[in-house]
Symmetry: C2
Subunit: 418 residues, 2 copies
């Protein structure tokens, strides 16, 4: 952007105020905007109430240059975003032929539409129409009174792809400056340490800039540059990324990935290697996380969720005497889990997790004690971790999974595993 | 409440505006408030910027009776909620001895504190202090200028338990009317059908009231009553719940549960029965969901994630010829999965899931085709579902899990399973 456009995201929907749904639209849209250098300054949520929506639009007009709405574009009488926004900017709603045609096509295709569906084809005069390929309600954008208004449907599976496909290019076109941003993902060092390590750079750098952010169980550094062209911005970012990588070394697990398992998938593919998992305290979460990624079946064979001692014996063939002697949460059982799941499935890599996610302990170990194991050709690695008894069950489970994937990453890239 | 207090939740944190974290505090606090009849009218998110925070506080003072802040109570210089709120209501910040004592105890316990930590013991004069048992920054509440202000720390694992422990009773005390609310959870009927079915009641009932809400893969009806005492409100709700149950019959899977697996856990416990799962397209999510619940190990033995044909053969011992002949996504393979995992683990119930979660198809079935199976003593049930090719991967995986748990629920409560 040539100048800093202050941006407000206004989400409309009573279900958000009742706590029945989380406002993931605001997060996802914010993330996309921050990558192109648009500064989101406010999120607001208001219910399906004309008077309060009108008042929120007035507040937003007074403090933001770009107003992005999500929700309230559907066909029911609750959905009033379009009417109120058009009114607030003095624009009439006019029928858009292409959208009407889409409605007729739906009917021809046997879909039942209500008369209200046709109100979806009404849009503010002169607006750029964003055709909805993921649902029925179109979005749109217009400029008026020095403000830019963008309206998006509420369902996340419509809002997010539409925002990426239409709104991001629309906003990029407003500028003759290009913004490029890359995130450096770090596991094994906390946000505050990263912050300390790069304090000087962060305080002195102007373009590119660098900023650390904490995620649930890891953190990231966002590096952003502005330039006349994308290539130029990339060129400015390159040495900064190199500097960061040099300082952090093997703690960096990926650039622009959304999670550590996403960084592991291509490593396995490149090497033509497969893996399988034996899980106790993570209860299937290691497998679930990996199979959330489309295409996981190319390298993930499967695994066993052995939540009880008996299941460890029956599904994995671990000697009950070993479990009896060493305990289910132990170096030895973790080792056996990785080795057995590898042998059973024929995978190149077998991983194992056994530990205490809490809230209850086992009388021997502290909650947060987890053994992570990885069996590969000729060797099995076991790591003992103590996350701290104050950790929540969900933290321990997620963190244990991160350790598993980090161990695989280190092995696959030839780094010291332990 | 005696009257309707309009409430605004103001969340403070730049990380929310950058899309690095989702505002789950606003959702969780809203959900708790809606259960005691407090009307949340606005959510606002603002960054760690004094000027903009001050302006948001002014807006909130103008339109809300109760202002709840989350975030910005920590010891770093970014955290300014307390200072700005105290200033906006003309209250000095004063040291609270009990909180200072806690800081000294931390130091005695060997924890390192920065001088900034001590600013956490400064609170608005006259405020009710909410001691933080889950972290270091205390919360507080005060009444001034006809407004009620409640401040909570930002981390969800501190904010949510503190809000429940301190803020909810604080708000209940403001009223001599009690609000009771129960949610009826429904699987197998969409929100719009539920809406149609109870349209008349919803339009005519005043106290109690009834409202439907959609969740990702199921829906709920919220029934709320106000009365002088809690017992009286419960008494008013009882016949409504009976009426809803009579209309919806076995589609109701639970009252006040957060998900269907949470309804299945006590049913298994009561009957002293165990289960195990064999998962293909859900990739461990059925196991993960169940083991998210503390205490799951009492009834969940474990299972196999057999993401590939080979894993189905190797881990579960399913005949490769059967997979070859019928295909991995088939009635026969689903049946074998449930039966084999039951036999292998010795569980009372074995469940199986095999299907296409997408985005890629297998050239035979449409994406969204899933076979769900359940093997019990003497019988195996198999259900074929077609969720529709337009469904997302995450929807198909979640919905398939719901089918699994619903099948178990029906079996355990003596309902027709298919």
């Amino acid at each position: 952007m040539n100048r800093n456009y202050d941006t407000e995201i206004l989400s409309v929907g009573t279900e958000l105020l009742l706590g029945h749904v989380t406002n993931t639209d605001a997060r996802d849209v914010s993330e996309m905007l921050s990558k192109i250098g648009v500064n989101v300054k406010y999120h607001t949520v208001v219910g399906d109430n004309p008077q309060r929506l009108r008042q929120c639009v007035e507040v937003a007009k007074g403090r933001a240059d770009i107003l992005i709405t999500t929700g309230g574009l559907g066909p029911t009488c609750d959905d009033l975003t379009k009417q109120i926004l058009a009114e607030a900017f003095g624009l009439p709603l006019v029928p858009v032929q292409a959208e009407l045609d889409t409605m007729y096509d739906y009917i021809k295709g046997g879909k039942k539409l209500t008369p209200n569906n046709f109100t979806q084809a009404l849009l503010p005069e002169g607006a750029t129409v964003f055709h909805n390929l993921w649902g029925t309600a179109p979005g749109c954008a217009f400029e008026k009174d020095g403000k830019i208004v963008i309206m998006m449907p509420g369902p996340p599976k419509e809002c997010c792809p539409m925002f990426e496909k239409y709104a991001i290019p629309y906003l990029r076109k407003l500028s003759d400056e290009q913004i490029v941003s890359h995130s450096v993902h770090i596991f094994g060092m906390g946000e505050s340490t990263v912050d300390d390590l790069f304090r000087e750079e962060m305080n002195t750098m102007v373009n590119p800039t660098m900023a650390p952010y904490a995620k649930e169980c890891d953190c990231l550094l966002q590096v952003t540059a502005k330039a006349r062209t994308e290539a130029e911005a990339e060129e400015m970012i390159r040495p900064v990324l190199e500097h960061v990588r040099a300082r952090l070394g093997d703690l960096v697990y990926g650039i622009d990935v959304s999670c550590i398992e996403e960084a592991v998938l291509p490593l396995l593919k490149e090497r033509g290697m497969s893996f399988a998992a034996a899980e106790s305290c993570t209860g299937g979460d290691v497998a679930r996380r990996f199979t959330d990624i489309p295409g996981a079946s190319a390298v993930f064979l499967g695994g066993a969720v052995t939540y009880t001692n008996e299941a460890k014996a029956r599904l994995l063939g671990i000697d009950p005497a070993l479990i009896e002697e060493k305990g289910a949460v132990s170096y030895e059982v973790a080792k056996a889990m990785a080795e057995r799941v590898r042998a059973l499935t024929g995978a190149d890599i077998g991983v194992g997790v056994t530990g205490l996610a809490g809230p209850d302990g086992d009388g021997v170990h502290e909650v947060g004690t987890v053994f992570i194991s990885m069996a590969v050709e000729g060797r099995t690695y076991v790591k003992e971790t103590h996350m701290g008894a104050w950790r929540t069950r969900s933290f321990v489970r997620r963190m244990a999974g991160n350790y598993v994937y980090d161990m695989m990453r280190r092995y696959l890239t030839g780094l010291p595993v332990l």
